[in-house]
C-alpha cells in the first residue's frame, strides 16, 4: 500500500516536471523566434555519426560570433543568425533540441583544425567551399551562395562600380581571408590595407584612411545596415562564394544526411523562413533562390 502511494507521488512529480520542462522548451523556442521542430523518434544505422550524436543528445557546432545576420553572439554567449539556424535545423533532424547545442566560436583561420582535431562536430561559419579546403575536410551544402562585393562611403564619391575601378585606390579587407587573396591575385593594382577584423575596416573607411572595403556581400550588408548614413554597397558581386557546412573528411554518411536535411528545408520553406528571421531581417531583402546542393 505504502509503496503504491510513493509510486503515485513519484509519478505525479514526474508529470509536474515534464510539464515544467515542456514549458521551458516553449519559452526558449519563442525567444529564438521560431526555430525548427525537433524530431522525437529518430533512428540511424549503428556506427554512423548521426547515431552517435542522436544517442548523446548533444552536438558541438563551430560558428562565427561576430558576423551580423549569420552568427553574432549576444552578451549571453549564444549566437544568432542564418548559420546558427542552419545548424539548428540539422540538430533538430537528429532529435537534438536547440538548448542542447554547444556553440564554439571559430574564426576564419582555425576552422579546418577544429574539424580535424574533432573539437567540433560541424562548422557552419560563412565557410566558402573550395578545393584546397576539401583536401582537409569535407563540405555539405552549399546552403547559401554569397559573392565578393565592395562597400564605399555613402554617395560613392569616387564612383566605384566594380573591382576594376579599385586600381590605384586603397582597399581594406581582413588578413587571411579569401577576398583579400582575390584582390592580391586578380587586382594587383589596388593597394591592400589588411586588419584582423572587419569593424576596423569600417572605422578606416569612416576616417577616409581607405577608399573602399571588400569582402563577401553578406558581411558588407551587415556593416551597411549598422551605419546606413555613412556607407553604401556597390552591389555588383564579382565572385561566387558557396557557403558549405564543414565536417570530418570521409564521413560521407553524415554529409549525405546534412545534404538531405538542407534539401528538405529548401522545399518545405523552413530555409526561407530562417533567412527572413535573420539575414533577411537585417538587409530587408527577400530570401534568394536556394542554391543546389553539390553531392560530390
Amino acid at each position: 500500500m505504502r509503496i503504491t502511494r510513493y509510486a503515485a507521488a513519484i509519478a505525479a512529480t514526474g508529470v509536474v516536471l515534464a510539464g515544467c520542462s515542456s514549458d521551458a522548451g516553449e519559452t526558449t523556442e519563442d525567444a529564438a523566434g521560431g526555430g525548427a521542430e525537433v524530431a522525437d523518434d529518430v533512428s540511424f544505422d549503428e556506427g554512423t555519426t548521426m547515431a552517435e550524436l542522436a544517442e548523446s543528445g548533444t552536438i558541438t557546432v563551430g560558428t562565427k560570433f561576430d558576423q551580423p545576420g549569420f552568427g553574432l553572439a549576444g552578451p549571453d554567449g549564444v549566437p544568432e543568425g542564418f548559420d546558427v539556424e542552419m545548424a539548428e535545423l540539422i540538430a533538430a533532424e537528429l532529435g537534438i533540441a536547440t538548448d542542447d547545442i554547444e556553440w564554439v566560436e571559430t574564426v576564419s583561420a582555425n576552422r579546418e583544425s577544429f574539424i580535424q582535431n574533432e573539437d567540433v562536430d560541424m562548422v557552419v561559419a560563412t565557410y566558402t567551399i573550395n578545393d584546397s579546403r576539401k583536401e582537409l575536410i569535407d563540405f555539405a551544402g552549399p546552403y547559401y551562395e554569397a559573392g565578393q562585393d565592395i562597400m564605399v562611403a555613402a554617395g560613392n564619391p569616387l564612383g566605384i562600380e566594380g573591382p576594376d575601378d579599385l586600381a590605384g585606390l586603397n582597399v581594406c579587407s581582413v588578413e587571411g581571408s579569401t577576398p583579400a587573396e582575390e584582390i592580391r591575385t586578380n587586382y594587383p593594382e589596388a593597394t591592400l590595407t589588411l586588419f584582423d577584423v572587419y569593424s576596423k575596416c569600417a572605422d578606416a573607411l569612416r576616417n577616409g584612411q581607405v577608399d573602399a572595403v571588400t569582402t563577401d556581400n553578406v558581411i558588407l550588408t551587415g556593416l551597411v545596415a549598422g551605419a546606413p548614413d555613412e556607407f553604401e554597397l556597390v552591389g555588383n558581386p564579382f565572385t561566387e562564394e558557396p557557403y558549405g557546412i564543414g565536417i570530418t573528411k570521409g564521413d560521407d554518411e553524415f554529409r549525405s544526411f546534412i545534404n538531405d536535411t538542407l534539401e528538405a528545408s529548401f522545399e518545405d520553406g523552413s530555409w526561407a523562413e530562417a533567412w527572413d528571421r535573420t539575414a533577411g531581417a537585417i538587409t530587408g531583402t527577400d530570401a534568394p533562390e536556394p542554391p543546389s546542393v553539390d553531392r560530390y
Binding site: E112, E175, G176, T178, T193, K200
Partner: protein
C-alpha cells in the same frame, strides 16, 4: 621545408618589415626614453611631473589601445598618419616609458657622491649628467635595457592587426591559403623573430661584458 622555400619571398618581405619596424621603434624608444629619464631626475619640478605623467600613462596602457589611438583615434581630430608610421610611433612611444624606467634605475645606482663631486667641480646639471652620471648609468642598465628591447621586437607583432604586413600577419594569411602546412608556417614565423632577437641577446651579452664596471 618545401613550403618555406616556395614562400620565401613572402617570409623575406615580412621579415624586412618587422626588422625595419623594430629598428625605427628602437631609435624612437632610446632617444625619447633617455630624454624622459633626464627629465625625471632633473631639479625642475614641472619637467619631473611631465615625465612621470608620460611614463605612468604609457606604462599602464595596453599596447593595443595605444595602437588604436594612433590609427583610429588621431584621424578623428583630423590628424592622419600612415599605418607604418603609426606602428613605429606606437611601439616607440610605448617602449620609451620602459626605457626611461630602466635608465632611471641605473641613474639611481650611481652613488650621489659622483653627482655632488661633478657639481663641486663646477659642471652644470646637464654636463654632470652627460659626462659623469649617464655613462655609468648606461653600463649598469645594459641587461634590463636588453630585456626591454627584445620584448619590444616581439611587441611589434601587434602591428599585424593594424595593417602592417609584418611576420605574424603571415600566420592568418598563409593558414587560410594552405591550412595543411600550419607547422611549417609557425616555424617560419618563429625563426624570423629569432633571427632578430637571438643576435640582439648575444650583442647585449657582449656589450655587458665590455662595459662592466670592475668594482
Amino acid at each position: 621545408m618545401q613550403f618555406l622555400i616556395d614562400n620565401f619571398d613572402l617570409f623575406w618581405d615580412a621579415f624586412l618589415t618587422t626588422l625595419s619596424l623594430s629598428l625605427l621603434a628602437c631609435l624612437v624608444a632610446l632617444v625619447l626614453g633617455t630624454l624622459l629619464a633626464a627629465m625625471r631626475v632633473s631639479p625642475i619640478a614641472p619637467l619631473r611631473g611631465l615625465a612621470t605623467f608620460y611614463v605612468e600613462t604609457f606604462r599602464n596602457t595596453p599596447l593595443t589601445v595605444v595602437f588604436f589611438f594612433m590609427i583610429f583615434g588621431l584621424p578623428q581630430i583630423d590628424f592622419v598618419i600612415g599605418f607604418f608610421t603609426g606602428a613605429v610611433l606606437s611601439v616607440g612611444l610605448y617602449t620609451a616609458a620602459f626605457v626611461c624606467e630602466a635608465l632611471r634605475s641605473g641613474i639611481n645606482s650611481v652613488s650621489p657622491g659622483q653627482a655632488e663631486a661633478a657639481r663641486a667641480l663646477g659642471l652644470t646639471f646637464g654636463q654632470s649628467l652627460r659626462e659623469v652620471v649617464l655613462p655609468q648609468a648606461f653600463r649598469t642598465v645594459v641587461p634590463p635595457l636588453g630585456n626591454v628591447l627584445i620584448a619590444m621586437v616581439k611587441n611589434t607583432s601587434i602591428a599585424a592587426g593594424f595593417s602592417v604586413s609584418e611576420l605574424s600577419s603571415l600566420l592568418p594569411r598563409l593558414v587560410n591559403a594552405s591550412a595543411g602546412d600550419l607547422t611549417a608556417i609557425l616555424v617560419g614565423v618563429v625563426v624570423g623573430y629569432m633571427i632578430i632577437t637571438l643576435p640582439s641577446a648575444l650583442a647585449v651579452h657582449r656589450i655587458e661584458r665590455r662595459v662592466a664596471i670592475l668594482r
